[in-house]
């Protein structure tokens, strides 16, 4: 199992050696590098194949936990963090939503409108850039500008574009190697890609924006080496009991965000989007499989291994597209899946058997409860035509897509939460009259409101992901919209929408360090090492359409400034 490249093995005077002492130094001189020794001593076993000096995939590692096993930046020295370098891609439209990838000392990320950059991860110096020529349709659709990053592997950098393509670039030069038109953004209601694809061996898999569009969402796979199409998974099950009449043809679904690939079992996990029209379910009376489900696919064939639908016949816009995190408890191989609905589903990885369901929302009312043993929705509240109904959580969910982080060191899940509701009057909407800018919500009126009897609120909290038990919680006047990172140094990094980056003590939520970056975080926070020196990199640049939705209940977000800067920190 190769852990470090020749460059990293040199590690001249890595900070951690001053703590680890002679045994680590000996190991380093022997070429095995002290980081491995330290991790073993600390009992933090890196997942097989994960190199802690890299941030090789979107969620940081093969467990999708956004946890860095590096610990030379830790509770005792985090106060000494300083800015190492800044990279500004030059366009602030849409904010900076990417989670960078770092492999072998090179950082790869995409900024607004699919511009891709490769940087020297130690200095921020640009090595190459690539800008696809986008179809002008991207300026007419609702889901514009957003680009959550790229995927790196097999000597290539992979980009999924706003105009429905997958592109493979040469990892060293950024030159285009292949491109494939996967969805027809012009013809398919603005259906496009706003997230990086997921690499599963030689198979590259991507899911489009779909749940709010009048089309049939699929998950697509191509050969990563050539771009040749391999398979499609229809997230709209071909079953009239599930989708009566033609309702499936405009049923939404899709997947929005990246999946989790488990190399051990060669399984691709994905969270599927909501059915369309979002709030009007009268013409799709059925369970609407596989929307709002966790699905486990064979990446070579796209065949379904198992599925668990979390919300049958969703009429609240609660897409289930968020991260699937792999973890273990009591010897069981589990996954936990947080959702927009404000609940976390915990399942057995190999079968989808339900282990637990627990709420992280405190004000939900779309159901009375969900049976933790069976997953049954009890006391559901469905919108009715012509009547106004209060639904909690609101259209943005108990959390937006910004991912949480799980630390195997503390056993805790760190997550941003918001409590807000909306009133809804549902109505039929003609899907044939939708243009590229329109969404297929199926409403007559929606009003964002606080929860009953309390103000709308935000918080950042640490919970046991198996049981939901709260360890600590910190209030946020405006909910955090950025992704979280946890580290083996006992730290958790999170930022607010205004630009303050916090390093928390992972055990108790105390703020150990903070820094004002000038613009908030919507994208990712990552960590990596170059020549044994650890860096933290943050995507600072606040905006996405969520920001537009929020002012009625979080008016202060109007003061959040836009921006676009990748900021790297390291120890003095």
């Amino acid at each position: 199992m190769k852990f470090f490249t020749a460059t990293q093995r040199e590690c001249p005077t890595p900070d951690f050696l001053t703590r680890a002492g002679e045994s680590a130094r000996t190991l380093c001189h022997a070429g095995a590098c002290g980081l491995v020794a330290l991790m073993a001593m600390a009992g933090i076993a890196a997942a097989a194949g994960d190199n802690p000096a890299d941030w090789p995939v979107y969620h940081g590692n093969s467990k999708s936990s956004r946890f860095s096993a590096l610990d030379s930046i830790n509770k005792s020295n985090v106060k000494r963090l300083k800015v190492a370098w800044i990279h500004q891609p030059g366009e602030i439209t849409g904010g900076l939503q990417a989670t960078p990838i770092v492999i072998d000392g090179v950082l790869y990320y995409s900024s607004a409108n699919n511009k891709v950059q490769a940087l020297d991860a130690a200095t921020g110096k640009e090595l190459w850039r690539y800008q696809p020529k986008l179809d002008p349709i991207v300026n007419e659709i609702f889901f514009t500008a957003s680009s959550r990053g790229v995927t790196v592997g097999l000597g290539k950098v992979f980009l999924a574009t706003l105009d429905g393509r997958l592109i493979g670039l040469d990892q060293k030069t950024g030159k285009e190697v292949w491109q494939t038109q996967v969805v027809q953004t012009r013809k398919q209601s603005g259906n496009n890609f706003t997230s990086p694809p997921t690499l599963a061996g030689d198979v590259l898999v991507i899911a489009p924006t779909s749940g709010d569009s009048a089309q049939r969402g699929k998950i697509y796979a191509v050969d990563a080496n050539t771009g040749n199409p391999l398979w499609q998974f229809d997230t709209i099950k071909d079953d009239p009991a599930s989708w009566p009449g033609n309702s499936g043809d405009t049923g939404g679904g899709g997947g929005w965000l990246p999946g989790t690939y488990d190399k051990e079992t060669d399984t691709l996990y994905w969270g599927v989007g909501n059915p369309a029209p979002d709030y009007y379910g009268d013409e799709r009376k059925g369970d609407n499989l596989y929307t709002d489900s966790v699905i486990a696919l064979d990446p070579k064939t796209g065949k379904l291994k198992w599925h668990r639908q979390e919300l049958p016949h969703d009429v609240w816009d609660f897409d289930s597209t968020y991260e699937t995190v792999l973890f273990e408890r009591g010897g069981k191989k589990l996954l936990f899946h947080p959702t927009k609905a404000g609940f976390v589903w915990v399942m057995e990885r190999d079968t989808g058997k339900l282990h637990n369901v627990w709420p992280y929302s405190k004000t939900y009312n779309f159901v009375k409860t969900i049976d933790p043993k069976t997953g049954e929705l009890i006391g559901r509240q469905d919108p009715q035509v012509g009547q106004e109904i209060l639904i909690c959580p609101w259209i943005l969910g108990s959390r937006s897509w910004n991912h949480g982080a799980y630390s195997p060191k503390t056993g805790l899940w760190y997550n941003n939460v918001m409590e807000a509701c909306n009133t809804v009057k549902t109505a039929k909407q003609d899907p044939t009259k939708l243009g590229p800018a329109d969404l297929y919500y199926g409403v007559e009126a929606v009003q964002m409101v606080p929860p009953p009897n309390e103000p709308a609120s935000g918080r950042f909290e640490a919970r046991d992901p198996e049981t939901g038990k709260v360890k600590w919680s910190v209030p946020y006047s405006v909910p955090g919209l950025g992704c979280v990172m946890a580290t083996a140094g006992g730290l958790v990094f999170n930022a607010d929408v205004f630009g303050t980056l916090y390093a928390y003590d992972a055990d108790n939520g105390n703020v150990l360090w903070n820094f004002n970056m000038g613009s908030g975080v919507r994208g990712g926070i990552v960590s990596y090492a170059v020549n044994g020196k650890q860096y933290i990199v943050v995507a600072s640049g606040m905006y996405s359409h969520a920001v537009d939705f929020m002012p009625p209940v979080f008016p202060k977000i109007r003061d959040a400034n836009g921006g676009s800067a990748l900021i790297a920190f390291t120890l003095e």
């Binding site: 439209t93 514009t144 243009g435 409403v443 007559e444 009003q447 905006y543 920001v547 537009d548 002012p551």
Partner: protein, 134 residues
């Protein structure tokens, strides 16, 4: 190919100049119309209750997520009590969209007809009379 003949030079030149002027003016007008959405919302439409009602219906279906119910939301300023927004500016912005700093608004001209956009303009103009929130 034009040929100059000394006896007729001034008259032909004059006609040619006038032709060019008409062409240029016409092009400018066309350009302005294209840029401005080719329509100027009429006062009669803006105060027509039926037009306003249609606009309200569409606004609360297609504009609420970024602009809030009855125009209260949005990263930008509220759309209520906006005497500074002329009907033409509202029409042009809805038609052509807008990118301002980090915020984006898509152009709606390929999604909505001119009549539908005018309905929205009428509704937003009617929001000028909304009282200040308590």
């Amino acid at each position: 190919m034009l040929q100059r003949r000394s006896g007729l030079r001034n008259e032909e030149t004059g006609r040619g100049m006038r032709r060019m002027l008409v062409l240029a003016t016409g092009s400018l007008c066309m350009l302005q119309m294209l840029c401005a959405g080719a329509v100027e919302p009429k006062e009669a439409d803006l105060s027509n209750p039926e037009v306003i009602a249609q606009g309200k219906k569409r606004f609360n279906r297609s504009c609420f997520y970024c602009h809030g119910y009855e125009g209260t939301g949005g990263k930008g300023a509220t759309l209520q009590r906006r005497a500074d927004l002329t009907p033409q500016v509202i029409f042009d912005t809805i038609s052509n969209g807008r990118v301002r700093g980090s915020a984006t608004m898509p152009p709606w001209k390929s999604t909505l007809s001119e009549e539908e956009i005018i309905q929205l303009v009428a509704y937003i103009v009617s929001l000028r009379d909304m009282p200040e929130p308590k």
